[in-house]
Subunit: 366 residues, 2 copies
């Protein structure tokens, strides 16, 4: 695998072009770190778990390129994706005399990537940063496309910026140490690309789910690459989510309500999205857009991936309230990503009564 | 004055084009508020003092354009330009069910404008905003050019974003209620444009300083317009401060050190910049770039404007430490805006010993 040329996907946005490198052993590959912006200092933003596993290796890989390399550890978990954690980054940067040239490296999963990205977007009004995602979910979704954010008690990712990285380095070796539950959460975002954009990929995932779950390297490499290709194409057409990009949020309107409603950190983001996709597909069927058969097929795949398909017990009014703060909402109307057909998604509203019926059919009893 | 056509200066950046409207009676002029992005809600961000004076008028002017208009009041003063105040805006926006279309209006001085702008840049990853500056300093400087930020205990404006407004509406009538001290602080930023860019304007300011201090409408209109023209030209060439834009920071490296060193809110920003310009001009003279005569001429004008020309007593090491976190610093080296000649500024380093000599000559005894 290491001898093979590094596989790269290019993302092109009005704010620049960058590569997603996808391969094994990238952390220790000099090519992964060459050609980045020069600076006196590099700062690795990570969490304690990932730092123990990969912090020293990345620090060593960066040492030839920067006068000083330091690490800052943020508490792990969605419930810490807030301003308090972000201040740890700013305090570290200012205490070490970092400047506008300083390059930040986000080493970890989606929480680390979102926070390091937002810190990079706002420290001194913007410094360069590099995504080094170490979870499957971050490799196929959150590290790509420049969405950065922190949570607000009233809603997920409510405060953030669109800010593109200089490069994304997906070292597939880092997936070897990923806990089972987080691997499954990543599979949720991979499965997502099928119904919204590519049913051939969906067929492939169904056929290769066992291989993916046992972390077969070739299967993971293909899945990460194809997911990044689809995401790069969508983001290239609509960086700021004025239209098309919203389809990447399939399952997320319900999913964010689950995450906020249960409290951040109860369900993993990928788990909430998985269950959210079941609800969004069922809503699409209820609206007469896709067949109930397709919803069942998607539900089976999600369940086989080890992911939840039954929504947590929450009051209907609470569901609606949580979904009304979704960023896609407009003038108080919730807007959902629905499937117009398997492989094609669109943004639309739905009557509250229909939404509540779907939730009650697919939810646990309160 | 109201019958005259509104004077407008256009700012063109890679991220869009917008007008700065400059006139009397703009708050109540329908033309000032026509053609902005449509939305269900508009939110006015202001402070208690300005809200009492102009909040109801702006709310009334916006009412025909938005379904709901509400106001959020932030505590007044540089010492409150922080995350805690920003959260008041986010809490208000989320509690009222605001969405990505919601338009924010910054009604107030530089502190309000910087915070409302940063809130707009980051709420749901960016919503439209309009600057309605009510202080002379905000009209000639902070509301134009898209710099938004909050302070960090270790340095001013350390966390922020470049984010351009949809429009800037400078109602000259609002200057009638400005306290004397704040009028003088605004004059500091007007005077700044002379030595860095336009000595003919500097001559004009010298000749019209008494008129400006007694708030002669025609004099203020000319000064605001010329300052905005120069700023628009500089920002149009270098929105993100990769080079030229830094000249607008003349006096600010010393000035920020004064503000942070004394504690935010002790000196007004314009007062600190005024004194900082004296130091920066003296440094330029010390480096053999301009004559001591010119430094004296600038010092006299600043003093005549009612602004401080003697630096506060601070330890030399403390000065250097505070200036090393300046955003223009690179690899630990402080970089100053110096005058290469009257009317022309440039970014350069200076030996610590020279800087300390200048400070000790122009500073109060510790």
């Amino acid at each position: 695998m290491n001898a093979a040329p590094t596989s790269a996907v290019t993302v092109s946005t009005p704010h620049g072009r960058y590569d997603i490198q996808i391969d094994g052993a990238l952390l220790s590959s000099p090519a992964a770190w060459a050609g980045l912006p020069r600076a006196a200092q590099a700062v690795i933003v990570t969490n304690p778990t990932v730092d123990v596993l990969y912090g020293p290796a990345l620090e060593q890989a960066l040492a030839p390129h920067y006068g000083q390399v330091s690490r800052v550890r943020l508490p792990d978990g969605e419930q810490y994706k807030n301003w308090t954690s972000l201040e740890l980054v700013f305090d570290h940067l200012l205490a070490r005399g970092c400047d506008r040239q300083t390059v930040l490296f986000a080493l970890g999963g989606g929480v680390v990537g979102d926070m390091a990205g937002f810190a990079a977007a706002t420290f001194m009004r913007g410094v360069p940063f590099v995504q080094v995602p170490t979870t499957l979910l971050a490799q196929v979704d959150s590290s790509v496309g420049g969405k950065t954010a922190i949570n607000h008690p009233l809603g997920k990712n409510m405060i953030g910026a669109f800010y593109q990285p200089e490069r994304v380095v997906c070292d597939l070796d880092t997936l070897d140490t990923l806990p089972e539950r987080e691997l499954a959460a990543g599979l949720a975002e991979i499965i997502k690309y099928g119904p919204i954009a590519d049913m051939a990929f969906f067929d492939w995932i169904e056929a290769h789910l066992p291989a993916l779950r046992r972390r077969d390297r070739a299967a993971l490499a293909h899945a990460v690459r194809r997911a990044c290709e689809i995401k790069a194409e969508v983001v290239g057409q609509d960086e700021r989510e004025h239209g098309l990009r919203a389809i990447l949020n399939f399952g997320h309107t319900f999913g964010h309500a689950i995450e906020t409603g249960l409290g951040y950190g109860q369900w993993l983001h990928g788990e909430a999205v998985a269950c959210g996709m079941v609800l969004a597909a069922a809503l699409s069927a209820e609206l007469g857009l896709v067949s109930a058969d397709f919803t069942q097929r998607l539900t089976r795949l999600i369940e086989s991936a080890g992911l939840p398909v039954v929504a947590p017990a929450m009051d209907g009014a609470r569901w609606l309230e949580l979904m009304r703060v979704d960023k896609k909402a407009q003038g108080g109307e919730i807007r959902f990503i629905v499937l117009e057909a398997p492989g094609r998604a669109a943004l639309r509203t739905a009557p509250d009564a229909t939404v509540l019926r779907v939730i009650s059919r697919h939810g646990a009893r309160a």
